[in-house]
Amino acid sequence: MTAIVSLRGLRKSYGVGTPVETEVLHGIDIELAEGEFCALIGPSGSGKSTLLNLIGLLERPTSGDLAIAGSETAGLKEQALTVLRGRHIGFVFQFHHLLPAFTALENVMMPSIIEQGVATADAEAISRDLLLRVGLKGHEHKKANQLSGGQQQRVAIARALSRSPRLILADEPTGNLDTHTADDIFALLREFNRERGSACLIVTHDPRLAARCDRRIELVDGRVAHVSSA
């Protein structure tokens, strides 16, 4: 099976060249297979979000190798990273992070608008369908901030899926939702993962949800402490 994400000896330091330089990740080796549904767990401050941002190409590692969908990223320019990110990766953040000036439908279409330059009819059809799938039919034209927290997270999931990325990175997607809503959101991610084969890497503090993943990677103090398969 090919790897969608492959990390070898990945290190990340903050404040490089200053007296407060601190290494947050001390050499991480992880492979994530295509279509894998994987939880990233660990105590607060262990480096989960940092790792996710590195994999999402939002930050650059201090050293080590990182390949996404077979492309080594070390030598790439910002522009190339942007393209790679746009093509292969969908994000779901803890605090929904929708664009408040846009409607639910427009938020879902946004990745496609960014790639194509304009909103195409195809993108609209796909986005409407996704909103239907996440149970938001009739809410298409509401502004993002007119939706409840759970609804916003559903929009965020639809948006992450809108260009059928091969990898979805979710940083505590259910973090500030009640248990019932959290289960729904998690079930949605699982459903899309099975249906479309998008690999998912989900940061969560919820052991119940982690237990329902194919694999659990536990970070402690910037190191992989434990890996367990279902």
Binding site: H97, L99, L105, M110, I113
Partner: protein
């Protein structure tokens, strides 16, 4: 609501502007006011200047050739007073070989019309009234291209022959005469003639309406004792601001005294120039203030939109496109403000032109907007908007997406 039609950068720029309602309204107000001030002032000043120049040149030749002034240099051997030049007592003289001089003038580039004039002082007498006048012997066909007399005629046409004369309305009033009446004219040398009035003019200048008496060249020559001669040659040029140039070249070519309206009205020109300088100063200040306004509002907006910028980056937007979004906001604000500003300036012109009128009730200036002024103001506002957005846009592009997402 259909899916958005605009290209990505436009779509986001417009939404960001719409979202920051109050800020956008304020910044638009600033640009609108600034553009309106610039357009209104420029329009007003250029029109007033045009009107002033028009008035001055309405009764004056652009360039006048005269005989070389005879001057006595007093105490020639005293180097300290060499600059003291004293003209001799006035005596009418003709331009030597004036026909050749007319040809010379006509051959000059940028010369539109040339008219020889026989002019000199005289008295107009009727009953017990005696008025000092300036006799103007002209060829009407030539002279109407120097001073547009046809437009000034209130009675009769601008046409002289035999012993006919055309006089101004003020002189007619002073003497109590009108078209069809006769006036006795006596020149300084004592020669006289009874003239028949065939036309009246109103040149818009009381002094000239009181002084000018048009006759044929021949009649003026005989009255002023200037047989076959002319006292000056009047010239019209294509562009009024070419007058000085043309006059200097004619002076060099003819050896005569040649003056342009620009030297005879040098104080007026200096005043107009000062006005233009202060107008430019005001404009520059307004542009700088508007630019600072746009810039500071956008800087604030970049900070406020930090999260959105991070989201857009995470979804595959390059930093260059983020920069484009903010440049576009500057341009949109500049352009929209310019349109509104031109509209406001138009309104101001309508209002003030109906309020401010000259003594005789005519509007002091025309309410029309010059398209050149309006277009250049709009263009400047657009460019200033984009330039003012440069610093905020670069800040937005440099913003760390992770910073925004972690918050």
């Amino acid at each position: 609501m259909a899916r958005p039609k605009l290209p990505f950068e436009f779509l986001v720029a417009l939404r960001f502007l719409r979202e920051g309602r109050m800020q956008t309204a304020l910044i638009l107000l600033g640009v609108t006011g600034g553009v309106a001030v610039i357009v209104f002032l420029s329009q007003l000043i250029s029109q007033l200047q045009a009107t002033i120049i028009d008035r001055v040149l309405g009764s004056q030749a652009h360039v006048v050739m005269r005989p070389l002034e005879e001057a006595n240099q007093r105490a020639l051997n005293d180097p300290a007073s060499i600059a003291v030049i004293e003209p001799r007592a006035q005596r009418l003289r003709s331009i030597d070989q004036w026909e050749a001089m007319v040809k010379l003038a006509e051959a000059q580039p940028r010369v539109v019309a040339v008219s020889p004039v026989v002019s000199g002082p005289a008295f107009a007498l009727r009953g017990r009234a005696s008025k000092s006048v300036a006799l103007m012997g002209v060829d009407a066909d030539r002279y109407r291209r120097i001073v547009k007399m046809d437009g000034y005629m209130t009675r009769g046409t601008f046409h002289v022959e035999g012993t006919n004369a055309i006089i101004g309305i003020e002189l007619a009033k002073d003497l109590g005469v009108t078209v069809g009446d006769k006036v006795f004219v006596r020149a300084a040398g004592g020669r006289d003639e009874l003239l028949q009035i065939t036309g009246l003019f109103d040149i818009g200048n009381k002094d000239l309406n009181r002084r000018w008496v048009f006759t044929t060249m021949k009649l003026a020559q005989s009255l002023l004792d200037l047989p076959g001669g002319v006292s000056n040659i009047d010239i019209t040029v294509t562009d009024i601001f070419d007058a000085q140039d043309v006059s200097e070249r004619l002076q060099a070519g003819s050896g005569l005294t040649v003056d342009s309206w620009m030297t005879t009205n040098s104080q007026l020109l200096a005043a107009l120039r000062n006005q233009t300088v202060s107008n430019n100063l005001i404009r520059s200040f307004v542009i700088v203030i508007v630019a600072l306004g746009i810039s500071s509002v956008l800087v604030v907006s970049v900070v406020q939109k930090q999260k959105e910028i991070g989201i857009l980056r995470a979804m595959g937007t390059s930093s260059n496109r983020i920069m484009g979004i903010f440049l576009l906001q500057g341009g949109l604000v500049g352009f929209t403000g310019a349109l509104a500003g031109v509209g406001l300036a138009w309104g101001l012109l309508q209002f003030f032109s109906s309020v401010y009128r000259t003594g005789d009730g005519a509007p002091l200036f025309q309410p029309q907007l010059d398209t050149g002024i309006a277009l250049s103001a709009a263009l400047i506002a657009l460019v200033v908007g984009v330039l003012a957005a440069l610093i905020p846009a670069r800040r937005a592009a440099k913003m760390d997406p992770v910073q925004a997402i972690r918050a």
